[in-house]
């Protein structure tokens, strides 16, 4: 099975014509007569452009040439290695100017700066003369916008105008129809409004209420402590100590002589933190009144246990919960912002598409 193209004669290993004694090349097996040839990178033989059916004007565009035999795997360095793919001729990129067959310069689409300028000039000229009406219109408008300033001209299209809001006065009827009355966008904006003004504010309020209540509990605790310190005649500084959950009872049991400063704190848990039951002074009074009753664990719905296993850590749980709700609301808000942006972009695209459609219908011929 041969991979040779149909025009190519079968491979012959002939190198020297036995009759004339001259070296022969190419598929045609003729000696070198000064015609343009190209050397194969696979088998080191030389080939005529003509015999390969390659126009001679491509002579400077060859990057790596492989003869038909090497491409078919008949000759070449790796012909026996089945794992390697067969080699292929590679071409350099041609200059964009139509009749130029020079390879492109580095990092360019043109062989030289001159040709680059020539190409662009052609495009603009074609636009101006109006071979292609649509392109011509665009080029003309681009030129008029840039007012002859090349840097403005270059930056056209860089700006993501589709995310900008549509300028007022640009077809207000269509604007109303496409953008202002879009139910999807309205719903999104409404949800964001709800999230910002209702949900987040509500959470913020609840955080303030909880902080106020926690402050009250701490106030009660410090008042209880100071009164106890007073009763026990212990004048040691208590302000710096923040050791919690240790009862004064325990201290007494452990021996009253030891100079350990112990803070007496109540749990302070209540299912409803919305308001403080009474002032901290009143509460302290109530607490002292009822402290004789060992079984009582509640005053006015507030848990007064010293070492409350059940409501352990309730303050931070509650504030963590609110924090979590706040975070959810914030990420919801972020999410809505992105969704609104996407929706607006879609609608702007729709608007401009319909605008250009109606534009082309209104003006079938250029003015």
């Amino acid at each position: 099975m041969s991979l040779l193209p149909s025009w190519c004669p079968e491979y012959s290993p002939l190198k020297i014509n036995p009759v004339t004694g001259l070296e022969v090349y190419c598929t045609c097996k003729k000696p070198d007569e000064g015609e343009l040839m190209v050397g194969c990178d696979g088998c080191d033989d030389w080939f005529h452009f003509k015999c390969l059916k390659v126009p001679e004007k491509y002579r400077r565009l060859v990057a790596a040439f492989y003869c038909p035999y090497c491409q078919a795997g008949i000759t070449g360095k790796d012909k026996d290695d089945t794992n390697k793919p067969l080699p292929k001729t590679l071409w350099k990129r041609k200059c964009r100017v139509e009749n130029c067959y020079e390879p492109c310069a580095e990092n360019s689409k043109y062989c030289s700066e001159e040709h680059g300028l020539q190409y662009m000039r052609n495009v603009v000229n074609q636009g101006m003369t109006g071979n292609n009406e649509k392109n011509a219109d665009i080029v003309r408008r681009m030129l008029s916008v840039s007012e002859g300033n090349s840097s403005i001209f270059q930056n056209i299209g860089e700006d993501a105008f589709i995310d900008n809001s549509i300028p007022t006065g640009m077809d207000p009827m269509l604007h109303k129809e496409v953008i202002e009355q879009d139910s999807g966008l309205m719903e999104l904006v409404h949800s964001q409004d709800q999230c910002n003004n209702v949900t987040m504010k509500g959470i913020q309020e609840r955080i303030t209420i909880l902080d106020k209540y926690i402050e009250w509990v701490e106030d009660v605790n410090s008042k209880l402590n100071s009164s106890l310190e007073f009763e026990n005649g212990n004048n040691d500084d208590i302000a710096g100590s923040s050791v919690k959950k240790t009862t004064s009872k325990k201290r007494k049991r452990k021996g009253g002589n030891r100079k350990i400063v112990v803070r007496k704190t109540i749990c302070g848990y209540t299912p409803d933190v919305s308001s403080v039951p009474c002032t901290s002074e009143e509460f302290g009074q109530l607490y002292r009144d009822e402290s004789s009753d060992e079984t009582a664990t509640e005053i006015k719905g507030v848990c007064t246990k010293m070492k409350c296993h059940r409501h352990n850590d309730w303050m931070s749980i509650n504030s963590d919960q609110l924090q979590q709700e706040m975070e959810t609301a914030e990420s919801n808000n972020e999410r809505l912002m992105v969704l609104i942006k996407i929706r607006k972009r879609q609608l702007n695209c729709q608007f401009y598409e319909r605008l250009s459609k109606s534009h082309s219908q209104d003006q079938p011929t250029p003015s």
Binding site: E187, L188, S191, C195, Y269, P271, H309, R310, H311, W314, I317, D320, Q321, Q323, Q324, T328, S331, N332, R335, L336, V338, L339, I342
Partner: protein, 427 residues
Amino acid sequence: MNLLLQDPFQVLKEYPERLVHTINGPVKTTTIAFSHNGDYLATGCLDGTIIIYDMDTMKPATVLNGHVRAIQRLQWGPHGDLLLSSSRDMTVKVWDLKLIGNKFDIVTPIHDLKFNGPIWGAHWINDNLIIVSILEESFAMMIDLITERKSFLNIDNDTPLDQGYVLNCELYPSSSPSSQQDDRIILTGSSKGWINFFKIKDIDTYEHLFGTRVCSSNIKHLLVSQNGERLVVNCSDRSIRQYHLNMVNPIELTLEHKYQDVINRLQWNDIKFSNHAAEYLVASPHGSSTHELYLWETTSGSLVRVLEGAEEELMAIDWDFKGMKIASTGLETGDIYLWSLVIQPKWSALAPDFEEIEENIDYQEKEDEFDDDDIDDENENKIILTKEEDTPIDLITMDPCDVRGNEQVPSFVLPIDYKSILMVQRL
């Protein structure tokens, strides 16, 4: 591959045998629950996150944020589309998984119930009624989800004994799992070893049927088998007690077996029954030296299998009967270990002339092998084919039971949150 076409001796094994997969979650997992069809595994984490894994891809399908402390227990709703989560942050939340991707917002619970203490666990009674056990609370609490009204499940004896605090609840299985008309029977276990049976009609109408003391320590777990004939109680006195349950009036409990670790005298972290008549019981032993799950045959009470492969002490267990999987969470890493059956594919079951070969063989096509020159023959074939095609094939109706004899329930598929995908792409 279709389980029906596999070797029945491999498919119909009654318990998983080999560790097949380990899921590394981002946060330590504390509790797990398979969905009714075993399609999803809901996992509750130490920081309150709930992650639902897809069991086909073993990847997270959705994440639910809302709790701020460790999740104690998760339970899928009667129809498989709701999830009940109880946490140490003193809340119980009900999540409607149908709402994922439905609106613009991130999914939030449809019910967010606050209590006066950390929650041991919450349990569905029917579609609208749940029962919750709260830390240091003498009675379980029922909540009507429609009104969110709470009510304690009191024992109205004339001389109330101190039965300790209610630690856990279990629903007695009934033939119609979600019907609201029927009376449901609930079992509660207390910290002083008491088990109580209640018959519940609705939040206000219930009746205390029976109470008994099985031990003097905490009841850590209560389980009733699917057929309602076996009850197993995991107590903190290091033994698991298995009872035969006879639901006559008054209820009779007969001790069948007591499972203990005779040598190390270990407690048990969690227990689970196998399906139907609960022929097997699996338990995770406490203690850092044991890294296995023990599996007993419940009729004889003998240890039949030790599930190995984990590298740490195992905590919570769940058993997916449909996919024959056992999942368990590790204590230290919080990873989820999955044991299952490894069924060798038997391709010859697909076609009788199917031949299995050791090595690849290049097929040499014969000259006239696939030629279609005999037109008459072809026409005949076509006629036969169209005849075969005419018989309608029922592709929609499910068999009432799967290969392993589990009742087929309509499966719930988690909706895809396209907006989240959009979000990930944009950010």
